[in-house]
Amino acid sequence: MWRFVLRRLLQMVPVVLGTTFLIYVLVFALPGDPIRVLGGDKPMPPSVYEALRHHYHLDEPLVVQYGRYLLGLFRGDFGETLNGQSVSSLMASSWTVTAQLALTAWIFELGMGIALGVWAGLRKGGIVDSLVLSGTTFVIAVPQFVLGYSAQLVFGLKLGLFPTVGTDDGWPYSYLLPGMILGSLSLAYIARLTRTSLVENMRADYVRTALAKGLPRRRIVVRHTLRNSLIPVVTYLGIDLGNLLAGAIIIEGIFNLPGIGQQVFLAIQVKDGPTVVGISTFLVLIYLAANLVVDIVYGALDPRIRYE
């Protein structure tokens, strides 16, 4: 097991190096000149233009720029945004916001999704089942920004139950409404996945055997069927945590949460290389870690899975 983890961790090194390089090259290849954008419609004297290009090392070849960036990374320096802010502190503040939002959404979809799925699965064909199926279809069909604006209008503005925008009220209050909207789509998938998986497993031979042996139904569901049914769900949840952290540009925009989704969006628009690369590198690391955790959880759920 530990050897497996170690090997996976070592594999991450070339992946991270490769992705940072790719992202760096892609940002470099984006059309346009970030320094001209800084000047906007106003005239920028050549001396200022040159000084800024030099300051951000844009006057050097790509390979030198990338080497410089990597060297900085080893020293824990993520560079400077085009406004002269430190990328590290920008990432620290925006990652905090995104992590809180993603966790809220994740806990919500995990708890509610599995609960609804189990409830519907055990009462297949019943009223609850139909309600869950139609409800989740609705959530999947409606675009998230519609849900977001509507919830903001009704629960935030009209009823005043939640803050409308911003993070002033801190976690969890400020993040509840956006978190639930953000998690709603995955909640629908998880509920359906759990339900289907459970229904399937309830028809399996081992359930019949267990029933014949006289085990109580409750114990069969909790100890055996549910554990087996959760394998696809866990895979989904693991990948989804990565997705949620990858930034919810739309939800962050509607609720004015200064998370990484917004930062990346703004940075790409003005071709702010250090910001884009810094945040994306972190994202890659998160995806890799989430995948590793998913693989480890498999073993806990199903003893037949071995790590080699």
Partner: protein, 531 residues
């Protein structure tokens, strides 16, 4: 600047918002909190000499006083200066009021101004407002024409500190508009503390204005200011504090205004204007601003070299109908290169060339030889409304001029200005100007001073501008500027479209709201009182 200013996140106008009660009550809750909040997006900089984005300037307007300010008619008026005089418009003498201090108690002296301007004018610093100091003698030594060379000096020769309260400014050429330039926030002074730690200063600027920083710049969240109790200048603050709340986009800010969580929002989206009028009543104000949109022609492209063709295109555009459909009638069509709030603006300066007349346009178009091939319209993807109004223009050109093939060239923000500066425009494109100071000079100089993006030969017009700059009599200067404007409008390298208006809403908590397009923040921040 506007390309950056309008970096709004997403413009999803999805839900038809029903009428909703505007919840009163401010952020503080208790009755003792006499501070108010102002919605902005994340500023780029806060050091005045480096700040040229609208949002940063709003914040700096509260933090910094300048030598001059503008009265409600746009005329320059002393702020920290006691007097500003010149006999030849070339050598200017400033007397600074005694007893003024920065937020840290340091006295404001002639040296504070000289230090600030030297920093901004020093090329290798790469500061945003560098170009404003190009009129001062010695600027070239700080910005050598060989960009790789190190400047010989880091002090402007034209600045002479005579004593603590007297500064002599020598310009390279006579420039009558200097008092207006000195009202610009970018010319504010810097305390000694700034010079030793510019990086720290940017996060926690020490100014000389009616408000001072309370804590430091909380990026993407807020910038909290409190009243400067030691303020001796002409505009003491009435409120106890002012918080600039940072939003990612105008929709979020407007939602917070409805919820009563922010007190002042001057960027209500045009699409929300009818609703805002209904909800806010007389707490909604539509105020003219200095920002203009133009359609500029690439004169280096043979297809657009004929002025008659440009005129025909200009006359085929129904500006009012576009403003109505895209901006809910909130912007104002103009026939001048100047914004209506600028002294010297003439409503019909452009005359028939900017007036919608499809028949005459078609005649002129045919006379000019028509247009062969595909017409490209170019704009950036900074804001969704650009494509909307370009679509209207395309339809009108098809309908009124019979141009069959029109395509869009929608360019990434980061690439847009590069393409224009490099003369790579594929067809008429969106051009924009934001006012720095209310002078015709500010609007006309960039149209006529090479390098000009459109490839226009501005010699005749630049001559008139130079004459106007040297004129001692404001009346005479204005006439010369108007002649320069006429020259450009006759050649029509760009045609004016409309003037932006700020759509402003404010909460019930605040009173004495004096909206004034000539102040940087468009609101006299110091007069606002909190109920």
């Amino acid at each position: 600047m506007s390309e950056k200013k309008s970096r709004w996140l997403i413009s999803l106008t999805a839900v038809a918002l029903a009428a909703s009660a505007c919840g009163g009550g401010g952020s503080g809750g208790g009755g003792t909190d006499k501070s108010f909040s102002y919605a902005v997006t994340e500023p780029e900089h806060l050091t005045p000499g480096n700040t040229n984005d609208g949002q940063g300037l709003n914040v700096d307007d509260a933090l910094f006083d300048r030598l001059m300010t503008l009265d409600p008619t746009g005329k320059p008026l002393p702020q920290e200066a006691e007097s500003l005089t010149s006999t030849d418009q070339k050598v200017w003498t400033v007397k600074i009021k005694p007893g003024l201090t920065f937020h840290n108690g340091e006295p404001v002296t002639a040296q504070s101004y000289a230090d600030a301007w030297n920093q901004a004018a020093y090329g290798p610093n790469g500061w945003g407002n560098n170009a404003y100091f190009a009129t001062i003698d010695g600027y070239d030594d700080l910005n050598p024409s060989d960009e790789k060379a190190k400047p010989k000096t880091d002090k402007l020769r034209g600045l002479k500190v005579i004593d603590d309260h007297t500064l002599q400014i020598t310009l390279t050429k006579p420039f009558s508009q200097l008092p207006l330039v000195l009202s610009f926030v970018g010319t504010a002074p810097l305390p000694k503390a700034a010079l030793s730690d510019l990086k720290g200063f940017e996060q926690k600027p020490i100014g000389n204005g009616p408000f001072m920083l309370d804590g430091s710049w909380e990026h993407n969240r807020q910038i909290k200011l409190k009243k400067f109790t030691g303020y001796k200048g002409p505009r003491p603050a009435h409120a106890d504090g002012l918080t600039f709340k940072i939003y990612a986009g105008r929709d979020a800010a407007y939602t917070d205004l409805q919820a009563g969580k922010v007190d002042y929002d001057d960027q209500i989206p045009a699409a929300k204007v009818p609703q805002a009028k209904r909800l806010l009543g007389d707490r909604f104000v539509s105020e003219p601003s200095g920002t203009m949109d133009f359609l500029e022609f690439p004169l280096y492209d043979k297809a657009y070299a004929n002025p008659d063709l440009r005129k025909a295109v200009s006359m085929a555009i129904d500006r009012q109908s576009i403003v109505n459909s895209v901006y809910n009638g909130a912007f104002k069509p103009v026939g001048s290169l100047l914004a209506p709030i600028v002294p010297g603006y003439r409503e019909g300066a452009c005359a028939e060339a900017c007036t919608y007349n499809p028949q005459a346009a078609k005649q002129l178009f045919d006379k000019a030889g028509g247009f062969n091939g595909t017409l490209h319209l170019m704009f950036s993807n900074a804001d969704a409304t650009y494509e909307q109004w370009m679509t209207d223009i395309a339809n009108q050109l098809k309908q009124n001029l019979g141009i069959k093939d029109i395509v869009f060239d929608k360019v990434q923000v980061s690439d847009y200005l590069t393409k224009l500066s490099d003369h790579k425009a594929t067809g008429p494109y969106r051009s924009n100007w934001t006012m720095d100071y209310p002078s015709a000079e500010d609007y006309l100089t960039p149209r006529c001073t090479p390098p000009i993006r459109s490839g226009y030969d501005g010699v005749a017009c630049l001559d008139l501008i130079k004459k106007a700059n040297a004129a001692g009599d404001p009346q005479q200067a204005q006439q010369l500027y108007q002649q320069a404007e006429d020259v450009v409008l006759k050649d029509l390298p760009l045609t004016p479209l409309w003037n932006w208006r700020d759509q402003i809403g404010f909460s019930k908590r605040i009173g004495d709201v004096k909206i004034d397009p000539y102040t940087t923040a468009h609101l006299r921040l110091e007069t606002v009182t909190v109920k």
